[in-house]
Symmetry: C2
Subunit: 379 residues, 2 copies
């Protein structure tokens, strides 16, 4: 009888019609029937990537698409810039180093975003940077980077800009072509409301010039092969058929709402969550200049064990949120605003958060958080 | 109103209870709740791999697990042997060459299997072979290789034996530990009746010695990282949660039947299919010495366009089988015996095969194939 409400920063809740699609009997992938799905999925993804380039569908988690970007662009010894302001920025750094790049790491304080001028400074100094790796929405810190500003800087150079938009796509604006982003990676289990198993990658001509020259050995994630297959509405290897079919469903319903309405809805959920935090006497972990609409990271009161709080919310009350990682482990909670959730889900989550804070001995005006969020939602 | 019967060599049909599991709401993966699933999945997989080693669960198609084997074992310049007797043997060769191995290719005529003595000959001549890559069940040619005999040869050397058992596991016997196979790769969408999206890899200590020394850059498929995570009942990156949960269901029902009974059942389905082919005046593509129980490849009569036949069976009657690839395109059909199918499915498929052969003008005793299979099934 326990609730199962998922407000984690991925995977996100799966709406009933997508669950139903996942539960359907399977079809074979080398058929015109599956090709129709691939074609529609590609069109829908282009709409959210805001690109004319093909969006390649990979069978992997988001990290697989990140590896694809690095291993297809970077040959050993190439110079790159990687921004490290959280767990997923760290992953860019690790990937670049694994594949032998001379990696100029721009370390960013957790909770803050890199600025375009920080990147420009390095690009001005180092003339032969091949690629810049950035995270659009860093879920470990709830930071959003101003990708438009970063792209304005990078596109004036020979470097390609590679953006991890895994938790950004479909939730916040990400104009690949208009802003001049060269490679965008994403995945199905955040904004697209699918179970994990598919990742997406789009690369423009500037990027494919590098990809075609790249000497790093790769096979499963070879983007030239994937692009050739996509041109024939196919995939090089067996795709995650069931998830791709469900993707078609999710893209249909997301497109029927429209990009801008979705972005506005998530911004609203994020703002309501913040209002609740303030009303509870709590502050937001993320710097005001770069707070994300993808999720909200709330600083917990001193003396409250965040690990225990998250565990109680999940195991006693069936409401899943995330705690902090590494240096902020136990010190924050992160409430996701992605995918299939509405203001009532946020209110439910906040009331559970208040309940457990209260049980754990935090002194506050019980109900203040929910009331503040409600007030905001009904403005 | 059209039937959707899948007798292709993967993906295979998904039983209703597994469909239902796939359609359930998702849970988060970094929870004790998901860990219970991972733990049970690992135990069940060990039973079918017949190994004490951990079976690592990767989020990818089978090719991803094949790449993991190559990129974790082989450093550029290493000498390897790869057996190429069909499309999947070719894939081993391509992978080995991509990752810079000096690849001794043993070319095997399509429809025949490599013999242990052919491999021994090369191992005797070349003293520093690092690994031997073999395909247990080559679905392009319906060939089964005698892995036990191959292992008897390879385990006396320093080379590790790597077996692609993607379409073999759960269908034919594959005794990893008892036979001395060092690495076995498989995937979810063949014998395990899952939608594509997960692959499996088990490696013993002999293999991990090589893996630990290997210099090839890898990240997403880094088996050391995957092994460390598995030791904590975890995965390095977001797993295909929904498919792993469905895997638990499929392993439960498969274990409740038992390995040997499953192997016997598939052998029976294969034999019944062959009896039908003979009764229709047709021959089996695969050499008698190495015919697979995983699928049956039937030579089509001269003048019958196999591409058209497969298309008609699927698009007009809703029954999916596979045609031939490359040099035997249009010349054979391949009927799968994997996963959730029984003798009545085989009879349905055979009656459809007869129907379309008849429509296409092949002269034969209509009903003879079904009758022969029926007779065999009722012996």
């Amino acid at each position: 009888m326990k609730r199962n409400l998922l407000l984690t920063p991925g995977p996100t809740q799966i709406p009933p019609d997508i669950c139903a699609a996942l539960g359907r009997p399977i079809i074979h992938h080398r058929t015109p029937q599956f090709q129709e799905n691939l074609k529609e999925a590609n069109e829908g993804l282009k709409y959210f990537f805001q690109t004319k380039s093909d969006v390649l569908i990979l069978t992997s988690s988001g990290t697989g698409a990140m590896e694809a970007a690095v291993s297809n662009l970077i040959s050993a010894g190439d110079k790159v810039i990687a921004i490290d302001g959280g767990k997923f920025g760290e992953r860019w750094v690790e990937l670049c180093q694994t594949f032998g790049a001379k990696t100029h790491v721009i370390k960013v304080e957790w909770g803050k975003a890199v600025s375009a001028s920080q990147i420009k400074e390095v690009l001005d100094k180092e003339k032969d940077i091949k690629a810049v790796f950035v995270t659009a929405s860093e879920t470990s810190t709830a930071v959003t980077t101003d990708i438009k500003a970063v792209a304005d800087v990078v596109r004036k150079t020979n470097a390609v800009l590679v953006v991890d938009a895994i938790s950004a796509l479909g939730i916040i604006d990400m104009q690949m072509d208009a802003w001049g982003v060269d490679v965008v990676v994403s995945a199905g289990h955040k904004g697209f409301m699918l179970p994990p198993g598919v990742a997406f990658l789009a690369a423009n001509d500037k990027a494919f010039k590098l990809i075609n020259e790249c000497k790093t050995p790769r096979y499963y994630f070879d983007l030239k092969v994937a692009k050739d297959a996509a041109a024939k509405t196919d995939t090089p290897y067996t795709p995650a058929i069931g998830i791709v079919i469900a993707l078609v469903e999710s893209l249909r319903s997301m497109k029927s709402i429209g990009r801008e309405k979705l972005f506005a809805q998530y911004a609203r959920l994020a703002q309501g969550t913040k209002e609740a935090a303030y009303a509870l006497g709590l502050s937001i972990f993320t710097d005001k200049s770069c707070q994300s609409n993808v999720l909200t990271a709330i600083n917990l009161p001193a003396g409250i064990d965040g690990e225990k709080l998250v565990k109680t919310m999940r195991d006693t009350y069936g409401i899943s949120v995330a705690g902090g990682q590494d240096k902020i482990k136990g010190k924050i909670i992160r409430i996701g605003h992605m995918g299939c959730i509405d203001e009532f889900d946020i209110l439910t989550c906040l009331s559970c958060f208040e309940k457990v804070l209260n049980e754990m001995g935090y002194k506050f005006n019980l109900g203040a958080g929910v009331a503040a969020a409600q007030k905001f939602f009904n403005q």
